[in-house]
Amino acid sequence: MAFLRRLGRLVLVVFVVTFFTFYILDRIPGDPAERLAGVSATPEGIEELREELGLSGSLPERYGSWVGDIVRGDLGDSLIYDGISAWDRIRGALPKTLETLVLAELMAFGLAVPLAIRSAQRPGGLVDRWSSATAFGLLALPSFVLGIYLMFLFAVILGWFPVLSKDLPGFTDDPVGNLKGYFLPSLTLALNLLAVYVRLLRTDLIETLQQDYVMLAQARGLSTRRVMWRHVLRPSSLNTVTAAGLNVGGLIGGAFIVEVLFAYQGMGRVFIESIIGKDYFVVASMVTIIAVGYVMINFLVDILYSVLDPRIRRLSA
């Protein structure tokens, strides 16, 4: 039941967002058919081309036929590049963006959990004060500023990583080169996330540590380590998991920016290029993929949430 409602919501979100995209694109000045046909084209020729491209008719009609194509698995063709489908455009960009995002989340959680645990064990201690101050500073760093700082420090001064991440080898061909290239963009995104996660997790850990059941666990003579990992961590992780879900939107935005900064052809750059070129179907397809991706991730977060907290399981059951 809850699943169906959620699925309904997903479909609704995708419809609203893609229709809105069509509407927006319609407002952008310029006609792709005219441009594609070239300067020598006759008005009839342009009209013909428009028909062929699925650009004729009213906005709802065009949207309707595009949805119909999507259902058949056809995302449409690019209007800028002849003979290239929207899927081709996306296929090249998507893995790059995904790799950046996955690396960023891995780094963020990998650092946040131990840091938060250390901080919560000794609030006001050295680790805690430094990690809190750093997190606060990181929150004030927009990704493009942080990216420039990191680029300057690690690439320009230290020279450990390439300044730009253009034309990177595939992960399977050259894992080291690949990871080296994606390291700085991912780190840029990861540090922003890290700040959010550490602050939330630390606060919740401290709160859980003061619960009766933790006091009783200590009074049962369990080791500090066991108490922390078995009793405290799981009930404290709910807000952090929620934040991870909520942050996906911001993270995608951040990914767009680091792609521009580190100059590689991910979803962000393709998106901007397409939107400026009024490349209808590429833009709409990308928006669809992002919307579906976002809803799926939040769906996963909800599932994870109910795995972590059995009390929620009953409510949604």
Partner: protein
């Protein structure tokens, strides 16, 4: 309620004031023309480094970076102020209505907010910025729309919590209209959180504008984002061109965040938890020959080092418990009765704690033994039951896992054996469907059942000492009776010693052999339960007994009250701590600490005990 905001807060305020001042009065200040190519006139070289005469240096076209940074502050501030104003006002109204009136409006609002908060705002921004020619007006509208959900969510959350509070009910009972409740009871309480969030929201506007500028989708003219975006191409050879505007932007955002955070700390003070540190002082009191007490406490003092000062909730407490005996500890809230138990097991909330004196459980020094030894004693010889069964069990672990854990860790049982024994235990504590209960989570059980599970866990390794901290205070009276009888039965059956901490004299009367009356951290009277109820000596004991409504007296019997409130434990008064509230107080009581009087069996710390001065001294 003046609280310290800290030096950083004021530095941040100063920075914001400085940025605003420069942005407003740029034209009347001696600042270079931001668009003039000074390299042409020879005033400045291209990529000139920062120096005393030209603070921020020059960019690729030989333009003054300081002037450009000041100029860039203008669109950032204008956008920030207008958007924060619009989004803050609308968002607050939507949030208050949604949180207070609730209903359909709330459901719709929450759904919209949830979706919009999680969807990538930048994608939308890009689309809109391309579709409409980027202008200040377009930016204001789009940023405001994107900002509203954030405010609405925060205000709704705060309002929702406030509306649950009884003062809203009270206002409604008095006949206040809804509009009045919103105005008088709700808005003043959400004002500060909104203001605090407004500063953070302001920073977000600056970030969003910067992000767009970075993607070449910004306003005409000079903005910080554009400066950074253009300067980054020279990062390798001329890093200052991008690093300087980046840093200006970073510091401004940081300043807004600091102010927002400082304001928030006024509403929800930052938690002052200190690190958990345990110190031990003094030397142990040797045990006398033939003393087989399962619990021996001699001159135990516990001090908590808190930000408010040194608190001493346990002051020179001495107690002893023979095997199989039940000892009651009675006191009001804040008397330190629970702290005595915590001092035995060494489990405290996050705090810096010093314990002095002797605590021995079954011959093991709980204060000074090695960690492994005291942990082993905790695990095998002590069982503990706490006050609130709702919080005593870990909500996310199955009952079974929680029951078998101590057996596996300390009892060296295999998982299967431990499970077998857990079943037995649950049956012993009176849980009907024990098999099913093992698989359940705590929230699936009633309060009484949860308390039975807590007892089962406490009994897992056959302890010699059971510490029960208000085990029934959170339970209904019929359940309380069941639990008390269960504890009593188990104690007799197993010959366990039991310490029962409670505020309820009636509970003590029925279920203990000895009782200690605690007031303001001290044991004021200690002896056999029957003896103390028949023949109370300390004035506080007497007053406590008389102030309890008695079921055996007719209705409307006047109750004896104890006027005033217990003293603060931060700096307790000298002399008898009960002196201020005592009906029989004398001058001596206020100056001299009472000396323990009475016999070895029944002792009390009072200068004018009942037996010597049966009538009230005046």
């Amino acid at each position: 309620m003046r609280k310290r905001l800290g030096i950083l807060f004021w530095i941040a305020v100063l920075w914001i004031v400085l940025v605003v001042f420069l942005a407003i009065f740029r034209d009347s200040l001696p600042i270079a023309d931001p668009v003039a190519r000074l390299a042409r006139s020879g005033e400045c070289e291209r990529f000139e480094r920062p120096s005393w005469s030209r603070w921020f240096g020059c960019d690729n076209a030989g333009r003054d970076i300081f002037a450009r940074s000041v100029e860039g502050a203008r669109p950032a501030l204008v956008l920030g102020v207008v958007v924060t104003g619009i989004a803050g006002t609308i968002g607050t109204l939507v949030g208050v209505i949604s949180g207070y009136i609730r209903g359909l409006f709330d459901t719709v609002m929450t759904t919209i907010v949830d979706i919009s908060l999680a969807f990538p705002a930048l994608v939308l921004l890009i689309a809109v910025s391309v579709a409409f020619e980027p202008s200040l007006r377009v930016f204001v509208i789009v940023f405001s729309i994107l900002g509203i959900p954030g405010y609405a969510r925060i205000v709704r959350g705060a309002t929702f919590a406030l509306a649950e509070r009884e003062f809203v009910d009270a206002s409604e009972s008095m006949g206040a209209t809804r509009a009045r409740i919103v105005r008088r009871e709700l808005l003043p309480n959400v004002a500060l959180p909104v203001l605090s969030f407004a500063f953070i929201g302001f920073a977000l506007v600056i970030i969003a504008e910067g992000g767009l500028a970075f993607l070449n989708l910004s306003l005409d003219g000079i903005t910080w984002g554009k400066e950074i975006s253009e300067g980054r191409h020279f990062i390798v050879d001329h890093p200052h061109v991008s690093l300087i505007p980046s840093t200006v932007m970073f510091l401004t955002i940081l300043a807004f965040n600091l102010v927002g955070d400082g304001l928030r700390s006024l509403v929800a003070p930052r938690e002052v938890a200190t690190a958990r540190r345990l110190h031990i002082e003094g030397t142990p009191e040797p045990r006398s020959e033939g003393d087989d007490a399962v619990l021996r406490i001699v001159d135990l003092s516990t001090k908590l080092h808190t930000p408010g000062g040194l608190v001493e909730p346990v002051d020179q407490v001495s107690l002893s418990l023979a095997p199989g005996e039940a000892l009651g500890i009675v006191g009001e809230s804040g008397s330190g009765k629970t702290m005595i138990l915590r001092s035995i097991v060494g489990a405290f909330p996050l705090a810096d704690v010093t314990r002095a004196g002797t605590v021995e459980v079954d011959g093991v020094d709980m204060l000074r033994s090695a960690d492994t030894v005291s942990r082993r004693t905790l695990g095998t010889n002590i069982g503990m039951v706490s006050q609130n069964p709702l919080t005593a069990l870990n909500p996310v672990r199955r009952v079974g896992d929680q029951v078998i854990e101590p057996m596996i860790v300390h009892g060296d049982l295999s998982r299967a054996d431990a499970r077998e024994r857990a079943l037995e235990l649950l049956q012993q504590v009176g849980i009907p469907a024990a098999e099913r209960c093992l698989r359940e989570y705590p929230h699936q059980l009633s309060g009484g059942m949860r308390q039975r599970v807590t007892i089962a866990i406490a009994l897992a390794n056959e302890p010699k000492l059971l510490l029960a901290d208000e085990p029934t205070s959170a339970l209904d009276v019929t359940v309380q009776d069941q639990i008390l009888r269960l504890l009593d039965g188990l104690r007799r059956e197993r010959g366990m010693g039991m310490v029962l901490v409670t505020h309820d004299l009636a509970v003590v009367k029925g279920f203990t052999d000895n009782v200690a009356i605690v007031y303001a951290g001290q044991v004021v009277e200690y002896g056999p339960t029957a003896e103390i109820f028949a023949n109370p000596q300390h004035r506080y004991t007497v007053a406590l007994m008389n102030s309890m409504p008695d079921l055996n007296l007719p209705s409307h019997s006047e109750l004896t009250t104890i006027e005033g409130a217990p003293p603060s434990l931060i700096d307790p008064p000298s002399g008898c701590r009960f002196a201020e509230r005592c009906p029989a107080v004398q001058d001596k009581c206020r100056t001299d600490d009472p000396v323990r009087a009475g016999t070895d069996v029944h002792s009390y710390s009072c200068w004018f005990p009942m037996s010597e001065h049966p009538v009230e001294v005046s």
